[in-house]
Symmetry: C2
Subunit: 340 residues, 2 copies
DNA sequence: CTGAAAGCGCTTACAG
DNA sequence: CTGAAAGCGCTTACAG
């Protein structure tokens, strides 16, 4: 890189002042340091004229702050993550922070690597959608006083700020809606992952089934091979359980794949089977019939995540009392569960 | 931030060596500097033992390199951008680079701000989906020898690397398909933006219409108010032009909104009107009938973008000969244009 | 009110 | 083969 950028030294030399003075003025400490308004104005005008902007690397090296937040998602190509990313980015931007993001694709090794990489680059805070097995790494971040907020799921074995939704209740309410519509054979399509949000959704389903004294129909798609297995496993599952009159998909990609199967098999929705999905998106809204969905309050989540992170960031350390917040999701009723 | 991290100085002190030696070994220059294998091994072992990792800010300050690429999209929440982001991230990662991303939301001022922000943070290269009016900023980057690759659209007034698809041809072929199916009144729904990719798609449409001696039916949705105007404008457009027998949507969000309108008005696809969309995605695949779509080769684009950027990055300067590559898109035939 | 100087954690000519 | 020293561009006690 060419060393052609203007530095503070260039300014101080040009104006016959010291670096200290320039730095104070640039950082808005002119008054505090009782620098004359004249001098401050002259400096500011010159800075503007030559288009000087500070080197963040140098500043970061001495202050230890970079105004950057590391954001670790499962996969930025997934609409749930890309939408919340968009909102978090906006919130961060409004507060003077930038986002560096990366995807784990569900791999713990990748997640560990990303956290270390972020640390080496001096990010100020971390927003993490954790993979299983990330406990030690997160604990260490907290011990080093680096602000962390988990989202979407948490790690039960360790203490940490967390923002998500009340998954158990959301799934319970969703299934209750089906039961109230007279459904007797409600199936749940989920994954075999032990992520907390998935386990809670499973609990919500089981709670309702038990409460109404219904039969359980659960299909666990292997998380690792979800692409390959979903279509065939689901098709077989439907064949084996012809009495099923309604299906809940526990997360967005399961719903998309499942609907493809149902369309292919020409299963009438909701006449033959009612359908309900966790996580809303365009594809579900546009589907015919439109699919009833549990909508997460993405905007509120994004805001809470950033707000929470900012508290610790301002404080300069990790608050010992962890913040564990579960927002309510909303069930959006559409034709896939209504016209039965 | 606590100064509790281990530095090179700590290592050199502990091992009784100089910072220089440590640095050389760490940077794989041990052989080149003819440092004894013994010493190198001892250092590496110690580094591993104490878990030292270099401070990238400091390194960046002196080398001028940060191994970071700034990635500017229109909106990361848009599936087109989030998918290519996911692929670019992967490619970058494989080459030792990290991505910092941000969205412009189509605002030039925001784009300018982002570029400056990236520069201040010392990103090594830029991948930009440019807004209109960004010419000066891009030109300046190139003059400062900062590698830039534009994608999705380019800026005709300036020279720059660019990777996209052959939009004119893709739209021409798409419309030709409709005409070959016997459609006589083909409509194009597009925006009024002057972005090159949109203009080219328009050209492709016009070319086919002219060639076949058909009537033009073009609806321009104001880019700024696309959310509010799309539904009502499109509905009115359909009413005013009842002879329309097929519709091309020039980009993904137009298709999603337009399909909502058509479903609401209970227009039979493809019996009454055939439908075709630019940019493929889940919602279109799942729609009933499945929507014929122009699919961009996202993976190839991502690879070409990174490869191109790496060339300049390795070279350490901007190559004067600019690389302007347009890939071919593929028309994915589905029921929305087939069963007429 | 303002400046000289140290230091953040690295890399890299230069010297031996 | 290895080290002393300068320097990247900032911030910030400390001193006056």
């Amino acid at each position: 890189m060419k060393r052609n950028r203007i530095s503070i030294k260039d300014i101080s030399k040009a104006l016959g002042l010291s670096n200290t003075t320039i730095s104070f003025i640039l950082n808005g400490k002119a008054e505090e340091m009782r620098i004359s308004a004249q001098v401050a104005e002259r400096v500011l005008a010159y800075v503007k004229e030559v288009g000087y902007t500070p080197n963040y690397l140098a500043r970061g090296l001495v202050t230890g702050k970079t105004n950057t937040i590391g954001f670790i998602v499962e996969n930025i190509g997934n609409p749930f993550f890309s939408q919340i990313a968009s909102l978090i980015e906006e919130q961060a931007y409004n507060n003077g922070y930038k986002i560096i993001y990366s995807s784990t694709n569900g791999q713990t090794e990748k997640a560990v690597e990303l956290i270390r990489m972020f640390r080496d680059r001096g990010v100020d805070g971390y927003i993490i959608c954790p993979t299983e097995g990330l406990e030690d790494e997160i604990k260490q971040l907290r011990e080093e006083n680096r602000p962390v907020v988990l989202f979407d799921r948490y790690l039960p074995k360790i203490d940490s700020h967390y923002i998500g939704i009340n998954n158990e209740n959301a799934m319970y309410e969703a299934c209750r809606h089906l039961a109230n519509k007279g459904k007797k054979h409600i199936a749940l399509i989920t994954t075999d992952s032990q992520q907390t949000q998935m386990l809670s959704r499973l609990e919500g389903y089981k709670k309702l089934i038990k409460e109404r004294n219904l039969n359980e129909y659960i299909l666990y798609i292997p998380y690792r091979e979800r692409k390959e297995r979903l279509l065939s496993d689901f098709e077989e599952f439907l064949k084996k359980n012809p009495m099923i009159d309604s299906v809940c998909f526990a997360t967005n990609y399961l719903a998309v794949g499942g609907l493809e199967v149902m369309r292919h098999r020409k299963i009438k929705i909701p006449t033959k089977i009612s359908v309900l999905a966790f996580d809303d998106n365009e594809a579900l809204r546009l589907f015919q019939p439109a699919i009833t969905a549990v909508e997460q309050p993405l905007e509120d989540m994004a805001k809470l995540i950033i707000d929470r992170l900012l508290v610790d960031l301002k404080l300069g350390k990790v608050t010992d009392k962890t913040f564990h917040k579960e927002l309510s999701a909303q069930l959006i009723l559409r034709d896939s569960t209504e016209k039965a």
